[in-house]
Symmetry: C2
Subunit: 405 residues, 2 copies
Amino acid sequence: MAIIVQKYGGTSVANAERIRSVARRIIATKEKGNQVVVVVSAMGDSTDDLIELAESLTDRPDPRELDLLMSTGEIVSSTLLAMTLKHMGHEAISLSGAQAGIKTDASHSRARITGIEPERIHRELHKGRIVIVAGFQGITESMEVTTLGRGGSDTSAVALAAILGAKICERFTDVDGVYTADPRVVPEARRLKEISYEEMLELATYGAKIMHPRAVELGELYNIPILVASSFNDNPGTLIHGGQMEIRNKVSGIAHDLDVAKITIVGIPDKPGIAASLFEPLAKAGVSVDTIVQNASVKHITDMTFTLAESDLKKAMEVVKPIADHLGATSIEADPNIGKISIVGTGIQNTPGYAAKMFRALYDAGINIDLISTSEIRITVIIEEGKVKEAVRALHKAFELETEE
Amino acid sequence: MAIIVQKYGGTSVANAERIRSVARRIIATKEKGNQVVVVVSAMGDSTDDLIELAESLTDRPDPRELDLLMSTGEIVSSTLLAMTLKHMGHEAISLSGAQAGIKTDASHSRARITGIEPERIHRELHKGRIVIVAGFQGITESMEVTTLGRGGSDTSAVALAAILGAKICERFTDVDGVYTADPRVVPEARRLKEISYEEMLELATYGAKIMHPRAVELGELYNIPILVASSFNDNPGTLIHGGQMEIRNKVSGIAHDLDVAKITIVGIPDKPGIAASLFEPLAKAGVSVDTIVQNASVKHITDMTFTLAESDLKKAMEVVKPIADHLGATSIEADPNIGKISIVGTGIQNTPGYAAKMFRALYDAGINIDLISTSEIRITVIIEEGKVKEAVRALHKAFELETEE
């Protein structure tokens, strides 16, 4: 009998009606002859409510206490789901992270799974039960409750699928799959039947909204096929997997991001150590820097430009200003009015012409490219923020993404 | 250094302001040079909210799942309290029932504590920390989370006080102690400085509203002094303890209960087995019978009267009717309009005159006595419901309870 791991996000279990609907989907999966292990997130906004409660008492909640507090959210949703399944006549049991044997290190609020002891889950499956596991949480060697941080429940699900030798990890949320572009921007955007782990990772922010990169990486590592689908309809979803990449040769999708800003430091000496002196303090301040471009130097004087999240711009300027002054920079310019577009596809690797086609399409649409960065399967351009949506539509058309490959 | 166990009820931690107030009281206790272990209930109505959530999904929630669900309530309040203490500059840690080593049997929703492994608590106290323990919960040998049922958090607190060798168990709630009578009925009612375990237990319903009998019995068994006091003021409260009973010779208090009804079965044969044939089915139906009176039989025919909670009257009549018919009873009479008054005091035992004085006082007030029952330290009368409050006032005066003994 095959084991299927299903993961349901917070919106999918946000109220009684939705919990019943999720229960019916689980039962249907079991009745097809599968053993089912389900991972759930906390109901709707309940995690935010707990954080708000903690922040009404202290501006800096103790991480160890906060983890124990937060872990209750997933216990609530998983016990309610187990009760509902029993009420519908199916044997089910909920397990906390500790009971499910999910062991982690002791890094509170961002623990890593160090191993899973699956004996209890196997024992319950053997009894014919549906097993519900509280996502997002684990326990340390010394019985301390931890949470896994961002993407935690997705990671719980994929890790369980790996350890249990599951056939597939099905991840249900309010999004019904990965699209060739944001359907709100490109009405012709098409849901992909499948996508590779690497492509999913390169979709960056857009991909992360659907499935956290950490869980995608874990899926890739253990070669667990991950289906992302909606719990609100029966659309087939998108399968993230690693097989048959060679036969693909096209662009899978276009991701865009408006939360981008740019800082340019003009006129600094071109000598070793300059980059480190800038980017180490930024990293310490918690600012993630994305694309970095340094102009060819003229008379040992150069300009340096980098992009970052628009929301980090103020903090970054406070860090950069004194350093730039110290380096003798001519000026610093901050520009929040930019956006980022990436075309992603395994077909890009080793195949020339994609970049040229992208640049031509943007030129034809009268859109100026500010910066360019690439990976093996991705080409990213930075352009004026007001032109981003128009550019996404132009590229979607140029690469004929509306038609099935 | 002495260990003090404090227990705070749900109303005492119902919101952020009250949690801060509780934290200040705990800190004051620690700063007097004590090691402090705190047991908390779930915040305000949060337990009811969880039950409501479960009942929106199933009319009969699985007890094992319900226990795991309910246990989250006390984890929320204890983590918030620990955070608050840390925020106020004091080392503190919250422990779930499992982490605190509270072992129980596997009777979900009404588990009994089988033992406590106090090593973790001792280790935390040794580090100078205030230890917050989630009340009402424990864990079985097989890692299943249980709840202790009614009076559970009080029981957690007294059991911890016993195992830790605490000097005292202080129980804070919204009631500031045990009074000689209900102050809403008798304005002159006086708060008792102390009361014995036995007297507290004999106060029955009234006493149980202040401290659950199960916890009082545990206190008596391990001889743990229990202070009941309010978390909303600094009144000294009432100490429940076992010492120096010999020197007392008065009535401690008057308890009354309006939720009483009476059933009389008229004209049944006086032969062995009649009582069993009536009361066994009632017990099975979950009806607690209080006072039972059987008239002296005339020609082997007798009447039987018993009292019960008024809220159980309908259910009890459904059970009793067919049995009485089968026994050939002449009639069955149900009377919901009665009430119960008890005078309680260790002074009653072996000292004649208390009953006489009680009956005289009631007679002087023109109140008719319907039934009488007694224990060593209690005399209870059943009277007409409408006369109960007047009777309480008359007895309070007759026994001069308004003046310090």
